[in-house]
């Protein structure tokens, strides 16, 4: 397996899978889980159960997927730019704005999304971590 394939598996695919696992286990109310699993099984029945738990569990359940997926898309776009050999000035800034926008747009669609300032913190942290760990591709 080439180094690049390993990198994709570790920095793009794995965070995606971790984010999905968190959703499947703890977020039964989403379209994704209801359509794929039809709510037949999940370990935590209601978000109310989560709300009574500690801050770390809440962070993992509610902000963990945002962290994982922001990390994943940052890595994916950094790899894309590196291998496409296109000169795009300030490309990481575009990724940063994309990640920020995906959180802020939730303010406009409150019926479908829950805006949470901690999601922005998680997304920005993920962006910085991905950028740092993949700096040879920046």
């Amino acid at each position: 397996m080439s180094v690049f394939v390993k990198k994709i598996a570790l920095h793009v695919i794995l965070p995606l899978i971790i984010g999905l696992i968190i959703y499947f286990i703890a977020r039964p109310d989403t379209w994704l889980v209801q359509k794929l699993l039809q709510s037949r099984f999940y370990f935590i029945e209601k978000n109310g159960d989560i709300l009574s738990t500690g801050w770390f569990t809440k962070f993992v359940v509610f902000n963990g997927p945002d962290f994982c997926w922001s990390y994943s898309i940052t890595s994916a776009l950094l790899y894309w730019k590196f291998f496409s050999s296109i000169k795009i000035p300030y490309f990481p800034l575009f990724i940063f704005l994309l990640i920020l926008m995906q959180e802020l747009v939730q303010l406009l669609f409150t019926r479908y999304f829950t805006f949470d300032i901690m999601d922005i913190v998680a997304a920005i942290s993920a962006f910085i971590l991905s950028w740092y760990l993949n700096k040879e591709y920046v």
Binding site: T30, P65, Y112
Partner: protein, 118 residues
């Protein structure tokens, strides 16, 4: 090969993540919310002075409807409250408390009319 189709790859990446993003949405509008939404739609029709209609609070037991309006002269706010009651009743919201509210420069809403629907 990658360079030849690089923009296709970029589109695939963005579309994939967008689909994932949409798939994690939740429709939070229950039957109660749908009824309020119907009242909002009907009330805003031909009434440009109505900003929006919502529950005054979103607790399950709430029986209050808040209608936010633009401070406009010549409007009979009592008549508007009656109309809200009629539309609410037609949509299955019975015996609601209606508040017609307008914004003020202090930031606090000013209650123009308060009405208990029959």
């Amino acid at each position: 090969m990658f360079k030849r189709f690089r923009f296709l790859f970029l589109a695939l990446i963005l579309i994939s993540y967008s689909l994932l993003y949409i798939a994690t949405s939740i429709d939070r509008c229950d039957a109660n919310c749908e009824r309020i939404s119907a009242v909002d739609t009907l009330l805003k029709k031909n009434r440009d002075y109505v900003y929006y209609t919502s529950r005054c609070n979103w607790s399950a037991a709430s029986d209050s409807i808040c209608v936010w309006v633009k401070d406009t002269s010549g409007i009979d706010w009592n008549l508007l409250a009656d109309t809200v009651c009629q539309i609410a009743t037609v949509n299955g919201l019975l015996q609601q408390k209606v508040f017609i509210l307008k914004s003020t420069t202090t930031g606090f809403p000013d209650t123009v009319v308060k009405k208990q629907c029959p």
